[in-house]
Each structure stands twice: as C-alpha cells, then as structure tokens.
Symmetry: C2
Subunit: 254 residues, 2 copies
C-alpha cells in the first residue's frame, strides 16, 4: 500500500516503521515541526511535509496519529479524495472523520514509548470502518504486519480504552508509588522487578480475580492497619492504599 502518516510521536513512529518494514511505500510524513517530520521521514524513505494540504493525493491510506484533541482539526485539513483516512485513537469516534468518504479507525492496543522496540506482531489492532470494503483493506493491512485484529465499534473501543487506563497507566503509576517507597528507605527498585514480572506473567494463565493475593483479599486487618500506620506521613499513598484495599475486599467478599 501507498501510505502517508500524519504525526511524528510514538504511535506515528512505531507504525510508520512497521509499515515500512512490511514492504509498504511510505509516501509522506506530515508534522507541523519540520525537524520532527524530517527525522521520521528519513527513517522510512518518505518525503517530509508540514501541512496536510501538501500531502500527495496518490496514496491508498492516510493515517492520522496525533493527539486526540487535534484529530478533528487535522482531518478537516486533509484534502485527499481517494485515500482511506484513519485515526489511531482509542477514545475518539469514527464520526470525527465523517466529512471524508472512506474512513476507519486503526487503533493499536498497546503502550508505545520512545526508544523502546516493540514486536508489532504482538499488538492487537482494533478496527472500525465506515464501509465493508474499507474494513477489508484495514484487515489486510494488519495481516501484512503479521498482527491480529479485532472489530470493535466506537463504544466498545472507548470501553477498551478505559480498561487500558486501569491495566496499563494506573498499573505503571503503582510501580512508581512502590518505587518511591523503596527510594525513601534507600532500597533499590530492582528488588521489585521479579515481583512485577511474576504478577503480570501470572494473568497469562489465570483470571486476575483468582490470582489476587495480599492482605486485602485475606481481609487481614492487622496487616492493613499496620501498613496504613507506616504510611501515616504520606496521605496520598494512604488514600490509594485504603481505596484499593476496600475495592479488593468488595470484589472478593462483597
């Protein structure tokens, strides 16, 4: 496929490189910052442009991978007639693209970080499209990456995105809170790494409800109260501890 990319952030970069490696022809990379556009464009042998109006019209697909709140504006500035126009956002409806003829959502359900390699074949792509032919083309694009796809409508995708905030963003924040507790006592974060790995590894083979361990699921009030006492000078940590313990109790005893 002939593909153009709007955006130069983590998602744009990972996808552009994945498409390029899968043999697709990346035509343009568009970013308002000429330096960012050029940096990514040179990695995928594309042309760098700074305005959507400058995009070469002779492409099959134009992928918008920009911040959620500017997708609508960017889409409005795209003048391509023939190309499928897709965005990559979990929380944004297909509708924001509806002034275009052939539209879709190409949501890679994964967390992307600068400088971290990802195996694109391990990413579940969540697809939605305005018409069946467009959907078929998006499926073929996923297949060209050796990845899997799920068809989700906008409401399902939004629910999935909320779930991802819990399972990924909030989880990472708990790692950060744990790290801070260790740092204060002069203990290395490395101590926690095997535990974090095992906690995540466990849910590959069992439901997280069954995998739950710790004082809250045992309703071990003695330990819980000792922990709250240890956190007495850290009201923020205490509040998180209290709320999540109560939530565990409710889910398991409630």
């Amino acid at each position: 496929m002939k593909i153009s990319i709007i955006g130069s952030g983590n998602v744009a970069t990972h996808l552009a490189i994945a498409f390029f490696r899968a043999g697709h022809d990346i035509v343009d990379v568009c970013s308002p910052s000429p330096g960012h556009a050029q940096a990514l464009a040179s990695e995928v042998r594309a042309r760098a442009v700074t305005q959507p109006s400058q995009l070469d019209p002779a492409v099959d697909l134009c992928l918008i991978a920009v911040r959620d709140d500017v997708i609508a504006d960017v889409a409005a500035a795209v003048t391509l007639q023939r190309a499928i126009l897709v965005h990559t956002a979990g929380s944004v409806s297909l509708e924001v693209l509806s002034s275009h003829r052939r539209i879709g959502v190409f949501y890679p359900f994964q967390t992307f970080s600068k400088g971290r390699q990802l195996d694109v074949a391990q990413i579940p792509f969540c697809l939605e499209a305005g018409d069946p032919e467009t959907l078929d083309q998006l499926k073929m694009l996923v297949e060209s990456l050796d990845a899997t796809h799920h068809e989700l409508n906008s409401a399902e995708r939004k629910a999935l995105h909320v779930a991802a905030v819990f399972a990924c963003n909030f989880t990472n924040h708990l790692y950060a809170l744990a790290s801070e507790l260790l740092r204060e006592k002069g203990m290395p974060f490395d101590l926690l790494k095997p535990l974090i790995e095992e906690t995540a590894g466990k849910i590959k083979e069992r439901d997280p409800l069954e995998a739950q361990t710790g004082p809250a699921v045992r309703n071990d009030l003695k330990v819980i109260n000792e922990h709250l006492k240890l956190l007495q000078d850290k009201p923020e940590f205490r509040e998180v501890y209290r709320l999540l313990s109560a939530s565990i109790s409710k889910m398991h005893q409630g």
Copy 2:
C-alpha cells in the same frame, strides 16, 4: 542442611520443594491438618507431623511459613534448642522469635500461587538474623538455591512489604477491574494481555516515573472526563479512576 518446615501453604510448599531439589534433607513437615502435612511431606520425602512439639530436634533449621497472625503462637510451641528458627513473613518482626536462641527471617520477595511454577533462582530473598553466624548460614542457604539475597532489617522489610502491596496486589486488582470492564461489553480479557506484559516489561529498562503514559500524565482533561462519564454507573471504578488520575497528576505536575 537438615530442614523442617512448619506450614503447608503456598510459601511452605514452594520453599520445601526448592530446598529438596537443591539437595537439602527435609526432615519434618508440620501442619495441623494431617492431610496437608502428608501431601507436602510425601513430595519432599519427609515425615508428616501435626504439632510443633513433635518435630525432630536434630535439624539445622526450622522454617515457619504460616499466616502472619499465628507465627508468634507457632514459634512459642517450637521446642527445638539447636536449630535456627526462621519465619518467612514480610510484615512480622524478627522479635516475635526472640524466645529462641538462634533466629532469623527468610523472606522470599515474590508472589506465590498454588499450581504455578516459579524459578526460585529469580527470587530475591530478604534476610535478617539475630547474630552474624546465623546470617551467614541463611546466606549459604540462599546461595544453595542459586538465588540472590538482600540484608534488610525489620523496618526495611516492612516498607518493602508495603511497596509490594502496591506493585503486586493492587496491580493485580487493576487487572481485575479492567477485566470486568471488558467482560461487561463482551470483549475477551486476552485483548489486554499484550498491554499488561509490555507495561510490566518496560520497567525493566526504565524508571516507572519516565514510563508513565495515559491521559492523566498528559493532563488531558477531555479524555479523563469522558472516561469518568463512561464509568458513571460504577461509583467504585469512578473513585479509583479519579484518585489514581489525581495521584498521577500530582506526581508529575507537582
């Protein structure tokens, strides 16, 4: 070493088997339930007993791996004179064993689940002892398992245990909440597995503070408010969402 084990739960089972495989001689397995004692004893070619008073006195080490709140009572019932007596609990002081002469803590910093294999060499063991010779013997025991050890006093160990509740128990609960959100919409939990794996994998190479992604760290109030609206019929999920988002904002924006 000649070792006896008091307890027959997850920690007792994993450690007894690890000691046995490393070539140690497991003498007795003690559990108030004869069936549980016998089940574990037969796995490690030991004798099953139901009372601490029945333990063979000719052992080098007696390991108490029972619920935190019964460790003191169990220790009081142990009449061994010569053996090192250790417990395995993160939140319990060394002092609860102080009526004995040679005491220690042998805390395997990992989450144990029935029926799930663990590589014991990947477990950081947190050690504390009443005297230097005992500490040396505990270090040698860890080395015999090819594992690593850290010397932590009781205060440090308790702080580490609190950190583990955040990084493991609460994290797993977030997986359970995410799973519940998907189940309600008929989406499979499998969708989340690559994301969970990547989120945990990322912190092997970068600090969780740097690895943070999502609407809260971007201060993307539009997405946050949409998510809270989607959770409006689930006050518990909402409260967790709100508190953790605020905690992320505070940690990152100050």
